[in-house]
């Protein structure tokens, strides 16, 4: 602030609550041990009670959408990895679906199975980490996150063997997948999948009946189903409120109609339900993985007609969406027939799930804000893009 800037200088306003008490304004973030990322919440407190909460976005705005509009369709694929950096493979898939719709491409059977396998592995490691971080924020520093990351590392080993990278996998292509599975990879996957139920049991034994966890999460951060639907909330957050909406069931993208699995639903919409939904979803993902590994056919992994380089879809528009671990991830593309999209828009679940943060936090203590925020499960790369 320079001295000439006086006009824009705003002295701190002391606001009064309805009862006439002074309110304390606190900026939680953008660097705060509990926001795990560069996110800021401007909270107005009456004592410990939250009377207002405004999220402040944009500390990680990296121009993803604009950069994608200036590069070719293929060149955006690695950028999608960096959106939700826990789930690069599902991001790839959503983008690939959008482009495939735009260009009317077919995906071979084997590639569809590979996509399901990688996506469900991604879901498991995302949910495991989400639970670990939630507990970390509750003050259980260490153990649950250590368990989660132990399991995550095993899954990352699989990704690394398949794609050459631990986190930024960049594996899917329009019309299929980039490389064939390495030798023995599927056996490796089924070995790890067989070990996963034990990990989930172990986590549950530690957490599900834990008194502190129950006391801090049951009845806290309640989200009502009608508000959730109206705000566009999706994913585990929505299903924890009891609304039966899973894009894998509704839209049947890929080959999800071939697998038998259930959609777990909560009925309170509180933090505890969100935690339970993630545990149950991991168990369902294991079922899907077992079926997919059993049925995967031989064959090509790439549509031989699909053209990757010099790719120019006809003018038109398309929206591709999937059930990403955090909710509905969609890519909306408009093509004008040139090699790069005319408009490229991401519909990120993290951002839209965050819009109900204030409603969940009002009237709660500031310590609960940390937990409620943790239970949304966001990744800032996707929020700010």
């Amino acid at each position: 602030m320079t001295a000439t800037d006086l006009k824009s200088y705003r002295p701190p306003v002391i606001e009064l609550s309805e009862e006439g008490d002074e309110l304390l304004e606190v900026a939680m973030g953008p660097h705060h041990p509990s926001t795990h990322g560069v996110f800021r919440m401007d909270v107005a407190l009456d004592g410990e009670r939250v009377v207002r909460l405004k999220p402040v976005f944009g500390y990680l705005h990296r121009n993803h959408e604009k950069i994608a509009e200036t590069t070719s369709y293929l060149a955006s694929m690695p950028y999608t990895d960096r959106l939700d950096y826990f789930c690069s493979l599902t991001n790839n898939w959503a983008y690939a679906i959008a482009v495939e719709k735009l260009a009317g491409m077919e995906v071979p059977e084997r590639a569809q199975y590979i996509r399901v396998i990688t996506a469900e592995l991604t879901r498991i490691q995302n949910h495991a980490s989400a639970i670990g971080f939630l507990l970390q924020e509750m003050g259980a520093s260490g153990t649950p996150l250590m368990y989660a990351f132990r399991e995550r590392e095993k899954i990352l080993d699989l990704f690394e063997a398949l794609t050459g990278s631990r986190m930024m996998c960049n594996y899917m292509r329009f019309g299929g997948c980039r490389v064939e599975l390495p030798k023995g990879w599927l056996e490796q996957v089924s070995k790890i999948v067989d070990g996963l139920p034990e990990f989930i049991d172990e986590t549950e034994a530690l957490l599900t009946g834990n008194e502190i966890l129950m006391a801090r999460t049951q009845g806290v951060g309640i989200l009502k189903p009608d508000l959730a639907v109206n705000a566009g909330v999706t994913g585990p957050m929505l299903r924890a409120t009891g609304v039966n909406y899973d894009i894998r069931k509704v839209d049947h993208y890929g080959i999800y109609d071939r697998f038998k699995f259930r959609v777990p639903l909560g009925d309170h919409g509180d933090i505890y339900d969100r935690y339970m939904i993630r545990i149950l979803e991991m168990r369902e993902s294991i079922e899907i993985l077992k079926q997919a590994i059993k049925d995967i056919p031989a064959g090509p992994i790439m549509d031989p007609k699909s053209k990757i380089r010099g790719f120019r879809p006809k003018a038109g528009e398309a929206y591709g969406r999937i059930e990403a671990p955090k909710g509905e991830l969609g890519f909306y593309l408009i093509s004008d027939g040139s090699p790069n999209p005319y408009r490229y828009r991401v519909r990120p679940p993290s951002l839209i799930n965050l819009t109900v943060l204030e409603d969940m936090c009002l009237g709660r203590n500031v310590a609960d804000v940390v937990l409620i925020f943790g239970s949304v499960d966001i990744v800032l790369g996707e929020v700010d893009r």
Binding site: P30, R62, M168
Partner: protein, 213 residues
């Protein structure tokens, strides 16, 4: 002045332990580095993975990530720094205790990385604060972070306590606070800190030697 290694070993065999103040001082410093709990983007996840069971940064005496900059002396810049975040990064750096160190982790922290074209992305944090170790990669693997950590330890170990290369906290004239940039009309003001981001050397042939965008 260091003791000759051969003489030291020989004396050690006789039960005489010889050392210097700087050796003991640096040994203590290098084995108790406290990183700040501070993540910016994707690279932060690999930083967290480094502290978890498989990679176990605790082996280096650095397992406790401090939630407050006042308790930390190592800043790992793990991820993309946007121009909206850069002032906060410099401010946090200023608040850390001396002697303090910076590891720039990943392409974004070094240069803006894949998002370099973005109008809102800072093209490297070394424009504002001194960086001790750069790690390339997008994201660098945990092993790379550990390697950077060991490089930093080697650097600390080799720091003389007197003379021109002495650490900043032992130099009364050295600058400890770095100017925090502000949002200007078009860009951050100032766009770079000239103390840590010097102008390119003047060319002798009359042609510019490079841009310092």
């Amino acid at each position: 002045m260091a003791v000759e290694p051969d003489l030291k070993i020989e004396l050690g065999k006789q039960g005489v332990f010889v050392t210097t103040i700087s050796e003991i001082y640096n040994w203590g410093r290098k084995n108790s580095v406290w990183p700040m709990q501070f993540g910016l983007a994707c690279c932060a996840i690999e930083m967290i993975a480094t502290t978890m069971a498989r990679y176990d940064l605790a082996r280096f005496g650095a397992e406790v990530f401090r939630p407050s900059p006042r308790q930390a002396d190592l800043m790992i810049i793990s991820g993309t720094i946007t121009k909206k975040m850069a002032p906060q990064v410099v401010r946090l750096y200023n608040q850390m205790a001396e002697p303090k160190y910076v590891i720039a982790m990943g392409a974004c922290a070094i240069s803006g990385g894949p998002f370099k074209q973005g109008y809102n992305v800072l093209k490297g944090i070394d424009r504002y604060i001194p960086v001790d170790v750069h790690i390339p990669g997008c994201p660098p693997r945990p092993e790379a972070l550990i390697h950077a950590f060991m490089t930093l330890q080697a650097r600390i170990d080799a720091q003389p306590l007197t003379g021109g290369d002495r650490p900043r906290h032992l130099d009364a004239d050295a600058q400890g606070l770095f100017p925090v940039p502000e949002q200007g009309a078009h860009d951050l003001e100032p766009p770079v800190n000239r103390l840590v981001w010097p102008l390119p050397a003047p060319s002798t042939s009359g042609k510019p030697t490079g841009s310092c965008e």
